[in-house]
C-alpha cells in the first residue's frame, strides 16, 4: 500500500518521460523563458510599455530601444514582455475554463450514457463544427473586447474537444471493478465521477490542455490582430503585429518581433504538448 502511495502520479511520470526527449525540453525552455519574461516584466523592461515618445517614433533596434519603437515611440521590447502576460493569461485562463467545463460535461455524458450522452455529444459536435476563430470572433463581437470576454470566447471554442476527450475514458472506466465497488458501497454518482474517475483521466486532459494552449495563443493573437483584442493602450502580440503590418514598409521590425514571439510560444507549447502526448501514449511508450 505504501509503495503504491509513493509512486509518482501518471502526469508526473509522463512529464518525466517527455522531458527525456530533447525536443520537448527545448519547447519547455522556450515556454519557461517567455513565462519568466512575462512574470518579471516590471523588473526587466527598460521602458513603460504604454509611455509614448513621439520624437522617437519608428526607431530601429538600438541600445536605447533593443527591439526598436512603434508608431508612437513606445518600446517594442517592453511591450512584447507585457504583451506575453495577456497571451499567457488569456490562453491559460481559457484552457482552464474549458478543461473544467468540457471535462465535467464529458464525464457526466459518458457516465450517464444512453440518450443523454447522444444529445450532449451532438451538441458538442455542433460546437466543434465552428472553426475556433469564427466562434471566438462571434463571442467577442457580441460581448465586447474585454480580457474576460476573450477568455470566455476562447474557452468556448475548446469545450467540445475536452468533453470528447473526457467522455471516452469515462465510458471505459465506468465498467471497471473499482467503480462497481463504489456503487456497491453506496457512493454517490458525484463521488464516483469526481473522486474515482477524474484522477484517472486527468493526465489525458492536461496533455490535451498543453496542446490546446498553443491554439488558444493563436486565436487570441488572431482576435487582437483583427481589432477584437484587449483595448489600447494595453499591449497584445496580435495588436502589435497588426500595427506593424500597417507600417511594414517603413518599420518592418514592428511586425517581425511580435510575429516571432507568437511563433516561438506556439512552437514551444506544441513541442511540450507533443512530448507529453507521446509520453502518455502506451503504443509509443512500448516502442
Amino acid at each position: 500500500m505504501s509503495a503504491t502511495l509513493s509512486q509518482p502520479s501518471p502526469l508526473r511520470r509522463a512529464a518525466q518521460r517527455a522531458l527525456a526527449n530533447p525536443t520537448t525540453t527545448f519547447g519547455a525552455v522556450i515556454v519557461l523563458l517567455i513565462v519568466l519574461g512575462a512574470v518579471f516584466a516590471p523588473f526587466i523592461t527598460p521602458h513603460d510599455p504604454t509611455e509614448q515618445d513621439i520624437i522617437s517614433r519608428l526607431q530601429p533596434p538600438s541600445v536605447d530601444y533593443w527591439l526598436g519603437t512603434d508608431q508612437f515611440g513606445r518600446d517594442i521590447f517592453s511591450r512584447l514582455l507585457y504583451g506575453a502576460r495577456i497571451s499567457l493569461v488569456v490562453s491559460l485562463g481559457a484552457i482552464a475554463v474549458s478543461i473544467v467545463i468540457g471535462g465535467v460535461i464529458g464525464m457526466i455524458s459518458g457516465y450517464v450514457g444512453g440518450k443523454f450522452d447522444l444529445i450532449v455529444m451532438q451538441a458538442m459536435d455542433v460546437l466543434l463544427s465552428f472553426p475556433s476563430l469564427i466562434l471566438g470572433l462571434i463571442v467577442v463581437a457580441l460581448l465586447g473586447p474585454e480580457l474576460v470576454n476573450l477568455v470566455i470566447a476562447i474557452a468556448l471554442t475548446a469545450i467540445a474537444p475536452f468533453a470528447r476527450i473526457a467522455r471516452a475514458p469515462t465510458m471505459a472506466l465506468k465498467e471497471r471493478a473499482f467503480v462497481e465497488a463504489g456503487h456497491a458501497l453506496g457512493y454517490s454518482h458525484a463521488r464516483i465521477i469526481f473522486l474515482h474517475i477524474l484522477p484517472n483521466i486527468l493526465s489525458e486532459l492536461m496533455v490535451m490542455g498543453s496542446l490546446w494552449m498553443a491554439t488558444a495563443v493563436r486565436v487570441e493573437a488572431s482576435l487582437s490582430f483583427i481589432g477584437l483584442g484587449v483595448k489600447p493602450p494595453t499591449p497584445t502580440w496580435g495588436g502589435m503585429t497588426r500595427d506593424g503590418f500597417e507600417n511594414i514598409l517603413d518599420a518592418p521590425w514592428l511586425a517581425i518581433f511580435p510575429g516571432v514571439a507568437i511563433l516561438l510560444l506556439v512552437l514551444g507549447l506544441n513541442m511540450v504538448g507533443d512530448g507529453l502526448r507521446d509520453a502518455t501514449d502506451p503504443k509509443l511508450r512500448n516502442e
Binding site: 517614433r57 508608431q71 481589432g227 489600447p232 500597417e246 514598409l249
Partner: protein, 516 residues
Amino acid sequence: MKTKLLAGLAAMILGAAPLAAHAQQGPTLRVGMAAQDVGRLDPHFAVSTIDRVAVAWMFNGLVRFRPGSINPAEIEPDLAERWESSEDGKVWTFHLRRGVQFHGGFGEMTADDVVFSLQKAGNAGSSAFSADYRAFQSVEAVDPYTVRITLRENVPSLLGLVTNYSGGYIVSRRAVEQRGADFARNPVGTGPFAMERITPNTSAELVANAQYFRGAPQIGRISYRFIPSDASRDLAYQNRELDLNYGRADQTWVNRTRQVPNTTVDVFEPGELTILSLDVSKPPFDDIRVRRAFAHAINRQEMVRWRGPDVSREGQSVVPRGYLGFTADNGLLPFDQARARALMAEAGHANGLSVRVIHTQLPEMLNGMQVIQQQLRRVGINLDLQVVEHATFHQQIRQNLSPLVYYAAARFPVADIFLSQFFHSRSIPGTPTAVTNFSHCNVADSQIDAARVSTNREEQLRLWAQAQRLLVENVCAVPVMETLLVFARRNNLSYGYELRGSMSLGPLITEQTRLN
C-alpha cells in the same frame, strides 16, 4: 437578303448607341483606394471619402469649384452657363447649358432634373445633406433651361449649395425613379466618367463619357481598386500596378513615397479638422473646470510632430483655417499640464478621472486617439476606450453614448456650415434635425443664426468670430489638428490643372487629365 443584313446591322448600331457613347479609346487610369467597397454612389448620400472621390468623376453641379481649387471665390459655371440673383439675394435664376447628356442614354439634362435633384437634396429621406437646404423655399423650372430658386432667408453662400459638392450634384430624374434604391450602385450623372460596374472587394470600373459636354476625356477608363491595407496598396503602387494611390497622412509615408522613382506626392486641401467634442449636458463634462482641464492637457504641437509637418497643422479654432469666417483670435486655451492638474483637483478629481469613450477601430482615427489618450493620462485622465467597428462607432455616437467624441471633418469652406453642423442646438443627436453636435452646446445659437441671414459681410464675420469665441470659452470642443489629403501619382499622370485642393477629397479626374 442584303436588305435584311443591312437592317440588322443598323439595328445593332442603333441598339448599341448608348454603349458607343462610352466606348472611348484611351489609357486606363488605375487608382488604389483604402476600402473594401464603395458605399452609396447616389451623390446625395456619398459621405465617405471613397464615395465622394468617385462621385466627383461622374456628376456635375450647376456651378463648380475650379478644378484644383477649393476657394469659393473661384467658383465657375458648370451645368449652368450663367446665373443672376435678386437684389435682396433671395431669388436666384440659373440658365442651363443646352445639350448636356446623361450617361447611359438617359437623355438631355433639363430644368426638370435640376428641380428634382435639389428637392431630393433637401429631403431628409433622400439625402444626407438635407439640413443644408433648410433655407430653400422653392425650386422651380421656369422653362426647360431655366431654374429659379427662392430662399426663405439669406444663406452665406447660395452657390456653395449648388456646386459640385454634397447635395449640389445633379442627378437624372428618370434614372433615379427607374432604378430606385439600385441607383446608389448604378448612378447616372453627366460627368466625364460613367459607372460601368462595381465588384465588391475588387474594384469599381468607370468608362469615359464620350458625350461629355466639355469634350471627350483623354483617359479611356478608370479602374478604382479597393485595397484596404496601406501596405498592400503601397506595394501595388511600387510594382506599377497603380497610377494613383490614396496615401497616408503621415510624414514617414510621405518621405518614403517621395523616394519612389517617377512619383509625385500631392498634399492638398481641405484639411480635415479633428475636434474633441465634450458633451456639456452630462458628467463629467457638465463641469467647465473638467472641460478646461481637458483643453489644457491637449498638446497640439505634439500631435503635429506625430503626424508630420507636411501633412498636418495645429487646429486653431472650432472652424478649420481658411474657411470664410475663421478666426484664430478666440481665446483658445494653451497646452499647460500644471494648470490642467490644478483644474482637475479643483473639480474634485485630484486622484484622477476615468471616462468611458466609444471610438472607432479605423487605424488612422484609433492611432490619433491613442496619442490623445496618452496626453490626457499625463494629467490624470484615463480614457477607457471602447473600440468598435467604424459603422457602429457612427451609430453609437449618434445615440449620445459617448461623452467625448473624436471627429475629423472638412466641409464647404464657410464657417456657417461647420458651426451649424457641429455647434448649433438644432444639430444635437437625438433631435429631429440632428447632425453632429456631439457637444450638446447651444451657447452660440443666436450668433450662428444671425450670421447666416446677414447680408452685411462685415457683420457676418463679426458674428462668426463671436460664435467661435463663445464656443472656445465654454470649451464645447477642443480643436486638435488639421490633416491634409495625400495622394501619390506617377509622373506620367497629369491632372490637367494644378492640384491645390479638392472638395471631393481626392484628385478630380477631368476631360483634361492625361496618362502619357
